[in-house]
């Protein structure tokens, strides 16, 4: 038992090491990681932000940044789907599966390494927010840490969604398209960039119950940034709701992905 656990951890670390080595091999990727936040902040904060007035008052750029933080974490699913799909197509997953590696180590190792890279990207985004948009967290240290914790948990859950998609689609480019295609629009169909109050009646419930709205509302509250209040339950209890959503997504997709990895047949 102890032996199994020890190897699972060791294998997961080896797999994580591969993710870092890959990143080091493509410096362009790192640059993209760091430049993208700046572009998003300028684009939304200043281009769209110049025309947006919040219904409840408050500075739009302070309202916006938590939305962009969430978007960065949601898009983790796309990169996970792409890399897993690529590994499937190249037969690398087969090679791992034919090796005496603990069955869950490959996926767990990848997901943890993925998360740590996306947290780096989030850090860049926070820096861009502070320097360019004048964003600040006004809550206590505990609240601020809790907010980043919620973002990390949500990102981790989304990595497993992407992993599951990649295991099915077995092609990097197609898995990318199959994830980005619904995920990116979905990050807009929420309170990410604009309050949900102004949405048409048929669209508003969708946005209110979008898990991403709960995450954004929760971190806005914890950071003490301007937020908009909707009577929908998830937005009345955003911290609880975002915890429930993230744990639920994990509880569904982590076992599904591990099961798929173990029993894959093509």
């Amino acid at each position: 038992m102890y032996e199994t656990l020890r190897w699972t951890v060791a294998d997961a670390l080896t797999i994580a090491g591969r993710t870092y080595a890959r990143l080091k091999a493509q410096p362009g990727e790192i640059a993209g990681f760091l430049v993208f936040p700046v572009i998003m902040t300028v684009l939304f904060g200043y281009v769209f932000g110049s025309a947006i007035v919040l219904p409840g008052g408050g500075d739009y750029r302070n309202y916006l940044m938590p939305g962009i933080f969430m978007q960065v974490m949601a898009m983790t699913a796309t990169s996970a789907a792409t890399t897993v799909g690529e590994d499937m197509a190249r037969g690398i997953i087969d090679r791992f599966r034919a090796q005496p590696i603990a069955r869950s180590a490959v996926l767990v190792g990848r997901s943890v390494a993925d998360l740590s890279m996306h947290l780096l990207s989030l850090a860049a985004m926070v820096l861009a927010g502070v320097l360019i948009a004048g964003w600040r967290a006004h809550g206590s240290l505990g609240d601020t840490v809790a907010a980043f914790g919620l973002l990390a948990l949500f990102g981790f859950a989304m990595i497993w969604v992407g992993t599951y998609i990649g295991l099915w689609i077995q092609s990097g480019a197609q898995a990318d398209a199959a994830t980005f295609g619904w995920l990116f629009p979905m990050t807009f169909l929420a309170n990410t960039f604009v309050p949900t109050e102004g949405l048409p009646a048929w669209l508003k419930p969708v946005a209110d119950w979008n898990p991403m709205s709960a995450v954004v509302a929760a971190v806005r509250g914890l950071f003490g940034n301007p937020t908009s209040v909707s009577p929908a339950w998830p937005l009345q209890h955003p911290v609880t709701a975002s915890l429930i959503w993230s744990v639920a997504i994990l509880a569904v997709f982590l076992p599904l992905a591990v099961h798929r990895y173990r029993t894959m047949s093509r």
């Binding site: 190897w7 060791a10 294998d11 080896t14 797999i15 090491g17 591969r18 080595a21 890959r22 091999a25 493509q26 197509a89 190249r90 037969g91 690398i92 087969d94 090679r95 791992f96 599966r97 034919a98 090796q99 005496p100 590696i101 029993t263 894959m264 047949s265 093509r266």
Partner: protein, 305 residues
Amino acid sequence: MIYAEGLRKRYAANEALKGIDLEVPAGTVCGLLGPNGAGKTTAVRILTTLLRADAGRAEVDGLDVVRDAARLRFRIGLAGQHAAVDELLTGRRNLQLFGRLYHLSRAEARRRADELLERFGLAEAARRPVKEYSGGMRRRLDLAASLIVSPPVLFMDEPTTGLDPRSRLQLWELLRDLVKEGTTLLLTTQYLDEADQLADQIVVLREGVVAAAGSPEELKRTVGGDRVQVVFRDAADVAAGVRLLRSATTPAIESAEGRQVTVPAADGAQSLVRIAGALDAAGIPVEDLALRRPTLDEVFLRLTA
């Protein structure tokens, strides 16, 4: 060394394997031959623990592929249809990664990586990312990755598909060396000359069943012996030529199409010499005259038609 009995596998509507048996003695090479969709890859995936059969059982190196899968994974090497290596990492880093996953220590993994790179002629390219490698180099790296723990049994799924002729010959040479050192090899291929060159035993699959099995020579014998093929220069000579061939060899004419006539060569090359002599003596000009040996292509075409 490899033993399978009644393997079956169904995917949705398609029955990929309909009960195949296999037996590969230790230290020999078995070539699994068949057209696309015959079930070759499915069989390899079952034997390498990647896929579970619906029925039947299989043992590799005395270990059951389902019950003892975890232990078996230390005893087999697999090189699939693609070069399953990380494009972005260097050749050396790839081998170190796979070595670590076989639970070698960091130092052992590095030593083994360098050893294999040296052996497979990749030492100079060791520090270059794999995306800069040629097709042949990738295949060699892939083969090296499957040999990290010196497995007694090696599975290769279409190892030379897409390689240029020189790289194929190089890979064949490496495989021959491995077999000489005692490795048992099962390879799938669509290339008959590859099976002919490497395999001690050939198993022809068709639509999920074993259509034929035996040594390359045994299989060739099933489509008949040697033949002599004559192409006359002038169509007008064909009738006289056929009469001459009848008297020079056995009376049977296997086929005659236009100016090309084929007759059985009961005495092999000696028949060819006799026919050449007779045609020369009679002054009948020929465009082509050749001894044709049966090829695996003919076996293959007959069995899989």
